[in-house]
Amino acid sequence: MLLTQDDWYETSRDLDWTFSYVDRAAAFPTEWTGAEGIPEDAWEAWEEPFRVSYRDYVRVQREKESGVKAVSNALQRAGSYDQLPASHVAASQMHMGLITMVEYMAVTMQSRFCRFAPSPKWRNLGVFGLLDETRHTQLSLRFSHALLKHDTRFDWAQKAYHTNQWAVVAAKNLFDDIMLNADCVEACLASNLTLEHGFSNIQFVALASDAMAAGDVNWSNLLSSIQTDEARHAQQGFPTLEVVMAHDPGRAQRIVDVAFWRASRIFQTLTGPAMDYYTPLDKRKMSYKEFMLEWIVDQHERVLEDYGLKRPWYWDDFLYSLDNGQHAMQLGLWFYRPTLFWNTSAGVSRDERAWLNDKYPQWEENWGVLWDEVIRNINAGHIDRTLPETLPALCSVTQLPLGTAMSRDRLAPVSLVRDGRVHHFDSEISKWCFEQEPERYAGHRTVVDRFIGGEIQPMDLPGALAWMGLTPDVMGDDTDGYRWAREYATESKATESKA
C-alpha cells in the first residue's frame, strides 16, 4: 500500500548503531558534537520541529526557484535597476558584500550538523539546511552577478571575504566563530536560534519590505524567498535548546547571551543604518528600533522565555544601545566612507532629521550636533575635514570601533589586561563576553593591532586602504554627492540676511 510521510518517517531517522570497530567517541568527538556533559540518550528527546521528505523538498524548492528566476528575468529585461534610489542601491551592495559569503559559511555549518550532530534526526535535518544555504548563496551570487554590468561594487558579493576590509573582518570574526569554529550545539544555539530566528527576521523581513517600498521588486522577492527557507531551518535551534536546558541550562544561557550581543552589534552596523538612513524617507515603515522591539523583544525573547531562558543580564543596556548604536555606526560609516566598498547615504537632510528626532527623541542631542559639524564643513567646502586620517581603536570582541555601542555620553574606557596585553571593549557587555572565554578572543589581532604591528604598509590611510583591498572604483562616497547639505547652507544664509 502507498504510504504517507508519517508512516515511514520514523524508520528514516532510526539510524544510530553500536560501534565496535572504532571508539564511537572518536567518531563523534565532543569538540564537534558539543554534547559534553549531556547523556547520550538525552538526544533521543530531540524532535524535529518540522518534518520534510526529500521528495517534497525538491518539488517545492524547484517551484520556488522557478518563481524567483522568472521575476528576476522579467525585471532585468525591464531595466528597473536604473530607476532605484542611490541610497537603496548602496544598501543592497552592503548587504550582498557582507552576507553572501555568510550564506556559504552556513552551508558548511549545516554540513557539520550532517556529520557531527549528536542525534541522527538532527543529522538528517541538517541536509535540508545544507541545501537551503546552498540556494541562498547561489541566489545572492546570481543577483549580484547580474548587476555587475551596472556597478563593480557587486563584485564584492564574491570577493569581500577574500579581503581585509574592516567591516568584513568584523563579520568574518563573528561568523567564522559561530558557524565554522563552534561545536554543533553552540553553532545551533548561536546561529540557528539567536542569529537566524532572532535577527534574520530583521534582516530579511525588514529589508524585503523596505526594498519593495523602494521599488526594488527583484531584491525584495529574493529576500522574501530566502526568508521562507530560513523560517523553516532556523527552528533547528529549539529542540537543541530544549535538550541543553534540561542538562546544562547555564551553558545555554551563556551561549545565547554572548551570541545575542555579538549579533546585535553586527546588525546594528548593517541593518541599523540601512533602515534608519539608507531607505528613502517616504518609503520607511518602521525605524530599526521599532523593528527590533517588535521582532526581537516581543517575539524572539518571549519564545526563549517559554523554554526557560532568562533575558540577558545586560537587557537595559541593550535597550539603551537600540537608541544609539546604529546612529554611532552610521556616523562612523559615513565618516570612514573611503574604507567601505559601498557608498554611504548620510540620511540627515532636514526632513530625515525630523523623522530621526521623532523616532529617537535623544537623537539631536546625541548625534545631531556631530552631524552639524559635518554639515558646516561640507558647506564651507572643507570636505577633507569630513574624512578620516587614522583608524579608530577597535573592540577585542565585536571588532567595531570603541564608542559605537552606546551614546557619546558613555565613552568611559572599558578594558582589561591579559597576559600583558591590553584589550579594549566597546561596552561592559563585550568585556563580559570576553571574560566568559578569554582564550576564544585573546589571541586574535584586530585590524588596528595589525596596523600597529607593522603588517600594513605603508602605515598610513592609503596603505590601510590598499591592505583592505579597496580600489578607487569601489571606495565609498556620499550617495548624494553632498547635495543634501545645501539646504542647511541656504537656511543659514537666510537667517544671516534676516539678522
Binding site: 515511514w8 524508520t11 528514516s12 548503531w17 526529500y54 557539520r112 550532517c114 541536509v127 541545501l131 564574491q158
Partner: protein, 333 residues
Amino acid sequence: MAQQRATRLRTWSAFGDLGRRPSEYEVLTHGMNHTMGATPLELPPDAHGNRWLREHRDGMALTVPDWDAFRDPDRVTYGSYVAMQDDRETYVEGLLERFDKEQHDERLTAGRLDLLALAVTPARYLVHGQQMLSAYLQQLAPGSYIATCAAFQTADQLRRVQLLAYRTTQLSRAHPDRAFGIAERTTWEHHPDWQPFRQAVEEALVAYDWDLALVAFQLVLKPVADAVLLHGLARRLDTVGAPLDSLITDDLVLDAQRAARWTRALLTFLTDADPGNRAVLQGHLDTWAAHGTAMAAAGARLLGTSDIEATALSTWDELLAAGGLTRPGTPSA
C-alpha cells in the same frame, strides 16, 4: 572627494583572464572558500577550528596550485539539482503507484523477501554513514567546486535513506510476520557479510585528514559499496523477480554515476595538478584497498551471486585508473 562613477564588470574579477564567458554554474560556485589563508578562520590561530583545518586539511600532502580550477563535469547548481531530482522522484513515485496497484509486495515470494531483508533494507545504516562521510568531505574541501559536489552527494544519500525507509515500511505492512523495520539494525551490526561495510564506515568516520578521507570514502568505500549494493543489486533484484526494488535501485544508480563522474574528474584534476599527488593517493589507497576487496566479496555473498564481486572490482579499478591508481596486487596501469 569627487563622486566616483560606477565602473562595470562582465563577470567576477576573481575569474581573472578566463578567456571566455563563465557558465552559470561557474558564476554560482567559484571561489567561495574564504578559509584558505595562513590562518584559516578570523580567530586566534590556536582556536579549535583553526587547529582542525591546519592539521586535517592544510597539512595534507596533496599539492594543488589552484583548487578553484576543478569543475564538476555535470555542472550541478542548486536550481539544476532540485529540478533534476524532482524529476527522478516523480518517476519513483510513479513506480510506487504502478506496482502498488499490481500488489507487488503481497506477491513477493519467500526467497525474494529473504533477499530484500538481507541485502536491501539494512543498507539504510550504511547509507547514513555515507551521508555523514559526504558531509565531512564537503566541510573540509579546499575549494567550493569540490565542496558543492560533496554537498549534493550528501543530499543524494538522504534521498536513498528515505526511499529505503519507505520500502522497509511498505514491506513490513505487507508482511507483518517478517521483521522488516525491526531486524535491520541487528543485521547491520552482526551479519558477517555486512561487517566489512560497517567496519569501513566506522574507520572512515575517524579518517579526519581530508586526503585520507577522500581516498577512504570517495575512492574505496563509496565506489565499491555502490558497485555492489546499487549496480549489482539492481541486476540481482531484476533476475530474482523483484522488479519494483530493481527499478528504484536503477534510479539510485543515476545518483551514484553522477558521484563517480565528479570523482573521476577530481582524480584526473589532482594528478594533473601535481605529479606527486598520485603517490600520495596511492599511499592511502594501499592502506585502504583491503576494505574495498572485502566489501566486494561480502557484497557478492549478500546478493548470493559470485560474479558481482568481479564486476564490482573491475568498476572500481576503472575509477582508480582515472588517477593512474591501482589496487595493490593488481598489475600497474
